[in-house]
Structure formats: structure tokens, C-alpha cells
Amino acid sequence: MGILTFKGGIHPYDGKELSKDKLIEALNPTGNLVYPLSQHIGAPAKPIVEAGEHVLIGQKIAEAGGFVSAPIYASVSGTVQSIESTLTTVGSVVEAIFLENDGKYETVEFQPAQLDNLAKEEIIKRISEGGVVGMGGAGFPSHVKLSPKEPEKIEYILVNGAECEPYLTSDYRRMLEEPEKVIGGLKVILKLFDNAKGYICIEDNKPDCIAKISQFIVNEPRIELKKLKTKYPQGAERMLIDAVTKRKINSSMLPADVGCVVDNIDTVVAIYKSVVLGMPLMHRIVTVTGNAIANPKNYYVPVGMNYQELVDAAGGFKAQPKKIISGGPMMGFSMFDLNVPVTKITSSVLCLAEDDIADNPTTTCINCGRCVTDCPENLLPSRLAKFADNHDMDSFIRYHGMECCECGCCSFVCPAKRPLSQSIKSLRKTALANRKKN
């Protein structure tokens, strides 16, 4: 079996050794929980509980606010305190349901189902009701993704186990510890698409995962394992599809346009749980790591739990953190306050004792072309960043600036330490906002 990859990309220090050998530990919150109503792309969920109401684990507390939206479930039992605004990891302030944890962990009764007995519509309904969203970071509601216009044209279901972001080990642990759930979830998706094959795609820096998953798919004729070259951003949707199927999509296409559906490991497990076990999405695995953390760990945590509690559970700080990032170092969000809740898309709390950005002053561009060599989208990042800085929208569009996938490779490799990706992102945002206006 060949090792698949794409053109461009980088090899940052991966930091995974800090937490990769730590078994997933379930963590119970002691404090209160906060459920932002917007943890996904699309319309915010609508609360269906009121202050003072008692809720159980698995009880729906907010319903989907539209087709592209997802419901939210209580992950502990307790009493709704209030519905008010909260700070989130990205620094925005959104409405959220505040829940007081009663510490009893009483649950509703879940309704398991036999996959064989479910019709396709029922499967989609269970996924949609389960509040499953893309847990790799985008938070796109899964039932929407799994309802393409022409499902018979879907040929490949790609389970994204690349986990190319440095430091993150949650997918790695999940594949090692619960491979049957990953495969179970993939089988659910395959049931929706009669003509599709399932590919579990794993970077070759995880040989133990590759061995484990291979064992479990021996008797699965529709499932194959695809080995990927370890390189960032191998797990980016467009790069993954390219590496595995040699089909290329641009920013205005969906994976379904080339017969693909891509879901990450945790999402597939959430699909399995909501369809087969009847358990909605209430938990996720979060890697708490970085060189400022005393005991880096992988935790199974309820959505809504406070970041500070995660850090405390991991032994707190062993060094003064300079930067705290929600997610990975390449695409995560740096935070100024730990008093924010874990959401469905929280993959990691990364605490770094040094800050590469502050430590490396920006100098002038020497036109070395490293950004061009490594750009997986085949763009000219240094030129695009210049256009962005000058607000030259026409040139930016002409040089295909809108195709940027914001992976950050250009900023990473720049020897002049220029914030290329950041400049490009800001003009892209403006352009997208203009498009919406018109």
C-alpha cells in the first residue's frame, strides 16, 4: 500500500509525545456548565428550558434553530440557572445556557437501535437529533453534510484520522482505544450511501493506529485503510481528498461534488453513538497539553465544562504560560481568559511557555518563495499578503486569494516572520462579507 499525500505543506514540531501515551480519562466537572447556543455553523440553537428547570444527562436543552443548525443536550444533571451571554474561546460573546451541576449524574434513558432495522431517513434523523456536528473544528452540522443532493453519486467516505495539527492526540487515542466505535460510525455512514467505499485515512506517524484499525477491518469488504504521509495540513479537507482520490476541489465546491464525504474521527464516533446507542453528542475528547502544563493528558469531558477545570485537572501550570490556544498551534484560537466553556469543537487546550510570534520580530520580505513552495493551494502568499495589506481587492481576487484555506503554512515557513496568513485571512473575511451583502 502506497503512502498518499499532496503537493506543498510543512513539517512543524509535532509535540505529540507529550500526551500520546496518556490513556483517555473521563473527567467530571465540579463547577457549573455553560452551553453556548452557537457551537456550530448555522443558526444558533433555541433554548427550550427555563431558569429553575431540572434537567438530566442527555436531555435536550436547546433545539435546532433551522435546517443548518444542531440541538444541544445537557451533559450533567442539574438545574438551569439562567440563559445569558458568555465569553467563548474565539473571544466572542454569545448567548448560553448556564447549568448548575447537582453532582448526581442522573441520565435519561437512551434509545438504542439496530442499524440493520433503520431506514436511511431514520439514520439522518437520529444524527440530526443527536446534535452531531463536525468535531474537527468547523462544526458543520453532520446531518446536512450527509444529505447531499445525489447520495448515489457518493463514492468515498473518508474518515479523517490524519490529525495533522501538532500537539493534538485525541483522535489518536480514540483510534487506539475505541476502534470499534470508529468503524461502527463509518458503517452507519456507509449505510446511507450504497455506492460508497469507506476509507479510514491515517498519517504514517501513527503506526499503532494503522495496525489496530487494520485488525478491525479485516472482515469489512467496504472499508479500507489509507496510509497518509505525515505532513501538515494533510487533514485539511481539500488536501485529504486530493491525497486519497486524486480529485481536487476548490473553495466554491463541496466534497460531494467529487463524490466524497469527509468526517473526522470524533464526529464518526458521535454518529455511531447517536444512531446506534441513541446517545446525543454530549462529550468529546480534549487534549490538555503544551510545555507549560504539568501533566499533559487526554480527557473525555462533558461539553460545557470550564477550561480552567481542564487545566487544573492536568496539574495546572508548571511554567508561566505565555500563550493559551484552544485547538492546535496552526489553526487554533489564542485565548486571553480560561473562563470559557468546552464546546463540541474544542479539540485541545494548548498552553505554551513561549510565544513564537512575540519572540520573532517581523522583518522585510526577501522574496525567497518558501511560502509559494509550501502553499498547498498553489498560491503566492507573499503577493496576496501585500495586496491584503494594501486593500487591493481586485488583485487579490485575480491572484486566487479566495482559494486560501487558511492553513497557515506560509506564516510558519516565512524566514522574515511575516504574518502572511493573517493578512490574507483578514481580506478574505472582508471579501466574504461583501459577497453576503450583495
Binding site: I10, P12, Y13, G91, R238, D242, K248, I249, N250, S251, S252, M253, Q320, P321, K322, K323, I324, I325, G327, P329, M330, M331, F333, S334, M335, F336, D355, D356, I357, A358, N360, T363, T364, C365, I366, N367, C368, G369, V372, E377, N378, L379, L380, S382, R383, R398, Y399, H400, E403, E406, G408, S411, F412, V413, C414, P415, A416, K417, S421, Q422
Partner: protein, 321 residues
């Protein structure tokens, strides 16, 4: 927490490679050629190298200090310019030649256009051409200084091997051409020393093969087709190793600032260099053509880039989506 956290937009990590390190690597890569030049032409060559580097660094320091700009001499770019300039001078040049050249390179070509990254021509080569035009006699006097350590294999006309080829002389042995104990500018004579440095830069990924190989390749094709000597080995080897082609192709045609950033543009640039060098050498008045070819092609870079904008990933050629 008693200290504020840093907040910035992703990505939050940076590679270890810095501009000053890249420049330092280029300096290191030029050391074999420099050392051989000193061996070949004696301490006078060392003096010229020192004067040239010192002038460039001082000029940058003085200008930036006078203009109240941040002083950037620690990025080694002025050192590279000074070193390249010296390697392009004949060892017999008087001390004031690199002084004038260094001032021209750093002040006029580099700083007046905005400093590092903004110069539209390679500063060292622009200075060399300026000196060649202004002080033609001094710049083409390849008399070997008495202090030379090595033994120089001479040609009949007493000029460089390339000039001998141009004059139609049957030349020398190939070994001295490769080793470099022949006449020429300080840094251009030894193909082996230059290639050692170039190989080092290729291995540490400071330069890639696109420009040098298309340059040398298209130049070869040109002289075979239009040189009038067909596949005559003497003629071809003389052109390859007897003049400034190796130093130019590996160290000056690959200067980041003055080359296209697009990959296909680099190929176009290499071909233009090869054709122009061939044109200047075969049909031009002087034996040498590399410097003029490079600074002329530098001017074409914005145009080359304009027509070689790459098609983005997933976009089909010729249009959207």
C-alpha cells in the same frame, strides 16, 4: 495568572529559519570560492574582499543611521553583497574599486530603492557592471598579483580562458579549468569551489535547481546551436567553466529578491538568462556576458511574474471552478 496572555491570529508557531541565517549560509557557501581566490591570487584578493565587505556593511550602517531607520546590518545581506562584489573583481584592481562599487551597490541599488527586498537588480552585479563601464581598463586587467600562492596556467593572450576561447585560441587543460588555477575574477575561476558551495546551498534548501539548471542548460543549447563550433568540447568547456557562468548561475541568478517568485516564472527566467548570456558572449563585443544578462533579466522579473501566476489548487486552467 499574574501575567497577561499573548493573543494573536493563528498560526501560533514559526519555523526556525530566519533571514539572517539564510544570508549567513550564503556567506558560508561562498567561502570555498573566496578561499580559492585568495590562494590563487594571493593576499591582494583577501584585501579586496575585506575592503568590499567592509564598505558595503559600513555604507548600510551609515545610510540607515542617517535616515533614522532601523539598522539591519546584522541580517548579513550587506556582507553577501560585499563578498559577491569582491568575487567579481579582478585581483589586480586597486583598493578604491570595491569602495566605489560597494557604495554604488548598497546606496544606489539597494537602499535608495527601499533596502533589502526592494532592490530591482542584484546590487553586487549592478555595481560590477557600473565599474566595468566606468573603469573598463582596471576591471579587465587580469594580471596576476606577485603575491599569488598558486601557479596559474596561462593562456596565450594572457586574458581569461573565456577570452582565449573568444579569440579562437586552442586552450589549456580541463583540470586547471575545473580546479581554477587560471585567470579571471577572484571568485569565478574555480568551478569545483563554486559547486561545493552551491551543493551546500541546494542540500540545505536555500536555493533550488530550477534557475541554475535551466540557465546553464539553455545556455549550452544556445552555444551549441549558434556558437559556430558545434559540439567542440574545448569550446563548450571553456564557455562553461572559463568565465563567470558558474558563479553567476549558482550565486547571482538565484538571488531571491531579483528573481521571479513563481515556479514556472523561474524556468522562464532561467531560459532568458541562458539565451541572453549566449547572445552577449557569442555576438557581443566582450568575452563575458553573465553579469549583463543577469541584471537585464532582473528588469524583466515583474513581467515574467505577471504572466506566470500559478493556477490555484482545484481551479481548472483557463477559468473559474
Amino acid at each position: 495568572m499574574n501575567e497577561l496572555l499573548h493573543v494573536s491570529s493563528s498560526p501560533h508557531v514559526r519555523s526556525k529559519v530566519r533571514t539572517d541565517q539564510i544570508m549567513l549560509m550564503v556567506v558560508i557557501a561562498l567561502l570555498p570560492a573566496s578561499c580559492f581566490g585568495i590562494y590563487n591570487f594571493g593576499l591582494r584578493a583577501l584585501m579586496l574582499i575585506c575592503v568590499s565587505v567592509a564598505t558595503c556593511v559600513l555604507m548600510e550602517l551609515v545610510y540607515e543611521a542617517a535616515m533614522k531607520k532601523p539598522v539591519t546590518i546584522s541580517d548579513f545581506s550587506a556582507v553577501v553583497t560585499g563578498l559577491l562584489l569582491a568575487l567579481n573583481l579582478p585581483a589586480s584592481a586597486p583598493w578604491w574599486i570595491p569602495v566605489i562599487g560597494g557604495i554604488f551597490a548598497v546606496l544606489v541599488v539597494k537602499q535608495l530603492f527601499g533596502g533589502l527586498g526592494q532592490n530591482f537588480m542584484n546590487p553586487a552585479l549592478a555595481a560590477r557592471c557600473f565599474l566595468l563601464i566606468s573603469f573598463t581598463g582596471r576591471m579587465t586587467d587580469f594580471t596576476v598579483p606577485a603575491s599569488a600562492f598558486g601557479t596559474i596556467t596561462d593562456t596565450l593572450s594572457g586574458a581569461t580562458p573565456l577570452a582565449a576561447v573568444k579569440a579562437g585560441e586552442d586552450i589549456f587543460n580541463i583540470t586547471s579549468l575545473l580546479i581554477g588555477n587560471v585567470k579571471g575574477t577572484i571568485g569565478e575561476t574555480s568551478a569545483i569551489a563554486i559547486l561545493i558551495g552551491a551543493l551546500f546551498l541546494v542540500c540545505i534548501k536555500v536555493i533550488d535547481l530550477r534557475i541554475p539548471l535551466t540557465y546553464i542548460g539553455s545556455f549550452l543549447v544556445f552555444i551549441i546551436l549558434f556558437g559556430g563550433h558545434g559540439l567542440d568540447a574545448n569550446f563548450i568547456l571553456g564557455h562553461l567553466f572559463g568565465g563567470g557562468l558558474m558563479l553567476g548561475a549558482w550565486f547571482m541568478a538565484t538571488d531571491y529578491v531579483t528573481t521571479p517568485i513563481t515556479k514556472s516564472g523561474q524556468l522562464v527566467y532561467g531560459v532568458i538568462l541562458g539565451v541572453l548570456t549566449g547572445l552577449f558572449r557569442i555576438f557581443g563585443g566582450s568575452a563575458e556576458g553573465v553579469s549583463y544578462a543577469i541584471i537585464f533579466s532582473n528588469l524583466l522579473v515583474p513581467l515574467i511574474e505577471r504572466v506566470t501566476i500559478p493556477v490555484a489548487f482545484g481551479i481548472s486552467k483557463g477559468g473559474k471552478a
